[in-house]
Structures are given as C-alpha cells and as structure tokens.
C-alpha cells in the first residue's frame, strides 16, 4: 500500500546528510509496519471488497448487526461527551488550583490507561452492580446501572477519561495569562472570559480529546462486556458481535462487515484528530 508512496531521496532532490542508517531504518520500519499492521488490515479490506454489494446488503440487513452498531455508536458518543466534560473539569482543577492531593489525582488519571481492560471490566461491574458499593444506594430508587446501556457508558467514560484530561491539560498549562487579563481588565466577567478567551483556545484540544475517546470507546471490548449484560439487540456492542459471529458457521461475512465499518470510523477519527492538531498549530502560530 504505502510502499509505493515512499521514495528515497535522491542526491538531486535534497542535499545528502552525513548520517547513516536511512536504508536500514526505513527498511526495517516498513517491513515491521507492513507485516504486523498493514498485511492484516489489507486482508480485512480485501475480504470486505470481495463480499460484493449483495454480501454487504445481506449483512447490513441483519437487524442484530444494525442494533449492535447503534449501541456502540450511541454509547461511545455519549461517553466521549461526558468524559470530555469531566476531563475538562479535572484538567482545569489540576492546572489552575493548588490543593492537597493534587499530585495524587494527577497520577491517578493515568490509571485507566494502565489497568488491563478485563480487570477494569470486572471491577466496574462489581461496583455498579445492585449489590455493589455504588449500585446498592441506587437500587431502592429503581435505578439500575449494569446490564443496560448505562453500564456500557460508565465503562466507556472510564476508558475515555484519561484521553480527555491528557489532551486538555497541556493546552491549559501553556495558555498565557495576558489575553485573559486583558479581557477582564476590559470589563469582561469571569464567565465571558472563559467563553470568549479560554474556550476558543481549548477547542482543538477538546476536539482531539473527543475523537480519541470516541475512537477508543467504539472499539473497546474488555471493559464493556462484563458490565453490559450483552443482550442481543439491546446491549450488545459491535466488537462483541464480531467475536460471536466469528465463532458461528458462515458468520464471517457479518464479522467482516462490522469490522470494516468500525475500521472506517477509526480512519475518520484519525483524520479528525489530524485536522484538529493542524488547527491547533495554526492557532499557536498566530500568538507568536
């Protein structure tokens, strides 16, 4: 795929650098990328193309496939928004305020990155279950948090939170005081300054954080399946349906179609992230 795009520099195009290892580095890198990442993905794309229009139509007309996509997209979207709001608050507090336990809180933000997803899944399920530490207090009110879409959203907020915090935090840290001070000295209220000065600066980071959390949530598997209940048509996420179909005879088609759709969505998120960071780079340059 990409090998065709890459061409080594000729002495005519660029001055030669006296550093060695371009051939070795690029060769090893491309082989590694090609064998481990591109070859498997090419297999999916080829098989998906080989299904033809009829195959796709048949797979997509399965209501269970549609339902799983709806659950996955809906839950990932809601969770990414919530994670973004929560993450922005946490990042703000971590950057702007000094309080006891701040460094501990900062460190704990990374826990969902580090904790294996299966471990997160069983513990979240245990906490929000009707007998769990949190679930038992909501049970008398008839609120149930596990074995429904709420459970999926909870797991995905857990997964998405560090992405939101860690994209917003560095931008808040580098935000200059000058513009904010100027806004306030010109009579803007705190909230106006927040809305008109800080928010626009933060927007690219917020977009990036959202895309990362959404992309990760869309494909998340381990933390969700323990808390979701996995009822077909109701709380069955698309990645789970892929694994189920894969084990059935003749289910590969549906698995391929679902995986291709998830993959396309991942591409779209990557493009969005790149667009956001370009936006961000321009914004920075403007300030000098």
């Amino acid at each position: 795929m990409s090998e065709q795009v890459l061409t080594l520099p000729t002495s005519a195009t660029r001055w030669r650098r006296p550093l060695p290892g371009l051939g070795l580095g690029l060769g090893l890198g491309l082989t590694w990328l090609g064998l481990i990442v591109l070859l498997p993905l090419a297999a999916l794309i080829l098989r998906s193309g080989g299904l033809g229009f009829a195959g796709w139509l048949r797979a997509i007309s399965d209501p269970r496939v549609i339902a799983s996509l709806k659950v996955s997209f809906g839950a990932a979207f809601v969770a990414a928004i919530v994670a973004l709001v929560f993450g922005a608050v946490i990042a703000w507090v971590l950057v702007r305020y000094r309080f006891p336990g701040r460094r501990l809180m900062d460190a704990m933000v990374d826990l969902p990155f580090a904790l294996p997803t299966a471990v997160a899944g069983i513990t979240l399920a245990a906490i929000y279950d009707q007998n769990g530490w949190v679930g038992q207090w909501l049970q008398p009110f008839g609120i149930q948090l596990v074995n429904n879409v709420t459970g999926i959203v909870i797991a995905l907020i857990f997964i998405g939170l560090p992405f939101a915090v860690r994209t917003v935090q560095p931008v808040l840290e580098t935000l200059g005081r000058e513009q904010e001070e100027a806004a306030i000295s010109l009579g803007a209220s705190r909230l106006t300054a927040l809305r008109r000065v800080i928010l626009p600066e933060l927007l690219p980071a917020l977009l990036t954080g959202f895309s990362l959390a959404f992309a990760r949530g869309l494909g998340e598997f381990g933390s969700v399946i323990f808390i979701a209940g996995n009822l077909p048509m109701k709380t069955e996420i698309a990645p789970l349906l892929i694994t189920i179909r894969l084990e059935e005879d003749g289910g590969v088609t549906a698995a391929i179609v679902l995986a291709t759709l998830l993959l396309l969505m991942s591409f779209a998120c990557l493009v969005a992230i790149n667009a956001a960071s370009t936006l961000f780079a321009h914004g920075n340059r403007r300030d000098g």
């Binding site: 990409s2 890459l6 520099p9 006296p18 060695p20 290892g21 371009l22 580095g25 090893l28 890198g29 590694w32 990328l33 070859l39 498997p40 993905l41 999916l44 608050v89 946490i90 809180m105 460190a107 933000v109 990374d110 826990l111 580090a114 904790l115 294996p116 299966a118 471990v119 997160a120 069983i122 979240l124 399920a125 245990a126 906490i127 007998n131 530490w133 949190v134 857990f158 939170l161 860690r166 994209t167 560095p170 005081r177 904010e180 000295s185 869309l218 494909g219 998340e220 598997f221 381990g222 323990f226 990645p239 892929i242 694994t243 894969l246 590969v252 995986a259 993959l263 991942s266 790149n274």
Partner: protein, 296 residues
C-alpha cells in the same frame, strides 16, 4: 495617593484577578475529586478488597493454581517477544523518520498511529482472516507445513504486537525531533562509525524516552484482552493469558469469584508498578522525555 500602598508587584502567577472565588474553586475541586473517586479510584479499592478480602491464603491459593501459573508464563513469554521487537523496530523507524526527509513521511507517521485507533477485536479478526486454517488467506500454506498460528502462541504474539505497535516509536519520534541531530553529526565528523555513534550518542540521549515507551508497551502487552480473545481459542494451560484467565474464572463463578479478583490483582499490581515508574520517570527525567508524552 502618596500614602497609598505601593503598587503590587507582578510576581510569578499567583492568585489575583484570574482566580475564582474560593467557593467556586473548592466546589470544582470537590467535583473533580468525586469524579475521580467514583470512576477511577473506587474500582482499584474494590479490586484490592475483593482479592484480599478472604485473606492472604485464599489469594495465594488462587494465584499459585496451575492454570494461573500457565497463564502467567504465557503472558510473560508474549511480552518477552513483543516488547523487544516493537522496541528495536521502533528505534530504527524513529531514526529514519526524524533524521531524514523523504516523500511519504507523513503517510508513514499516520500509518504508525493506526493501531491506536483500530479496535483490538478488529485487529484479532484481521489475523483470523489471514491465518484461519479453514478460510484464511494462508490456509493452504499453513496446512501444508502443519504450522499453527491461530489458537496458538504465535497468534497471541502477533495480535499483541499489532495492538502495542505504536507505543515505543510514538514516544521516540517527538523526542528525537526535539533533540535534533547536532550531536550525532559531531560524532560523525569526528570519525565515529555508524554503530559507535548510535551506541555512544543516540542511545544515551533517548534512553529514558525508550524506557518510558517500553514500560507502556509492556503494560499493554501483558494486559491486552480484546485482540487476544479473538485469536486464542482459550485453551486452558495453552493459549490462556492472564487477562483471559480472569474472564474464565469470572464466568465460572460470577461476581463472587474471589479467584478472578485475585488473578486480576496481579494485573492491577503490574499496572500500579507501571504508574509509579512512569511518575518517577516524569519527575526525575522529565526533560529527557518527549514533551507530547502525555497524549497516550
């Protein structure tokens, strides 16, 4: 006017006009703390409670059970293959990308990021499509030479390698870009050969960043679940990693499964060690890490 207080000197960012009133500050801190408590801290406490709640003996029995030991061995074996490959290839790729200009460089960097965005389950499925003995692209070849990749260790290794692919290289590229190639050029001009330059100049410069990437890569490699689920087939004692074993134990006994939580606590311990080393690296050698390291 003359007896008024001296104009306040602008010192380093202190409180003053940009600071919210105390009640706003403290309510925001309380909100942030509650979110962290409910979503991040409580799972950890609950896990430790469930794992050690029935006493150390029960924990130890669960952890030293033969299937757990097998799973631990497979997990460590997988990491021992995946991490060095991703680290070594990552160093060389980062070298090519940061020290040379070539067409398609941006495409290459975008492709390197790809595994971060691909669902682990999709990654697993891709490997099934390649290596399935019944319908995979390489089915004939594999059956002819009687090679097993799927539902065996090679499949688990490949799936884990896919998922953890970007960790090291993604850490090194911004770091090496920041550092520039002046020192390496100096070494070359003083007559150092390629490997001397690499081991005496490049490697010492990137060692903390490399360690950081290796740390994140190992943590993910040992905890990976989704991709491994698809390719493993869950054969007890053979293709069961620690993460998969947690699921097996959990499904056997449901939420009461002290054994599942005990095994999970092993993985959580690993995650905590990772976090501590990571914080240490950031605090102690923060200037030798890439500025953008916070993103992943």
């Amino acid at each position: 006017m003359a007896d008024g207080p001296a104009l306040p000197v602008r010192t380093a960012p202190a409180r003053d006009p940009l600071q919210e009133p105390a009640w706003v500050r403290w309510s925001l801190i309380a909100v942030a703390a509650s979110i962290m408590l409910l979503i991040v801290v409580m799972p950890l406490l609950m896990l430790l409670g469930a794992a050690f709640g029935s006493g150390l003996k029960v924990w130890f029995a669960a952890v030293s059970e033969p299937h757990t030991i097998d799973a631990l061995k497979l997990t460590l074996l997988t990491a021992a293959i995946v991490v060095p490959v991703n680290a070594i290839c990552g160093v060389f790729t980062a070298w090519a990308v940061t020290r040379f200009e070539f067409r398609g460089k941006r495409t290459l960097m975008a492709l390197i990021d790809l595994p971060f965005a691909v669902s682990p389950v999709v990654a697993g499925l891709c490997l099934v499509l390649l290596f399935s003995p019944t319908h995979g692209y390489f089915a004939d070849l594999l059956n002819h030479y009687d090679i097993k990749i799927l539902f065996a260790t090679p499949g688990i290794v490949l799936a884990t390698m896919f998922v953890t692919f970007p960790f090291v290289v993604r850490e090194l590229i911004p770091l090496m870009e920041q550092q520039g190639s002046d020192e390496e050029l100096a070494a070359r001009s003083l007559g150092a050969n390629a490997w001397t330059m690499f081991f005496r100049v490049t490697l010492p410069n990137i060692k903390w960043g490399l360690l950081y990437g290796v740390l994140l890569c190992s943590a993910r490699a040992m905890g990976e679940f989704g991709a491994v689920t698809v390719v493993s087939g869950n054969v007890m004692g053979q293709t069961n990693t620690l993460s998969l074993h947690v699921e097996v134990l959990y499904k056997q006994m449901g939420g009461e499964a002290a054994a599942a939580f005990a095994v999970a606590s092993l993985l959580a311990g690993l995650a905590l060690v990772t976090l501590v080393v990571k914080i240490w690296l950031e605090a102690r050698h923060g200037d030798a890490l890439a500025r953008s390291h916070r993103r992943h």
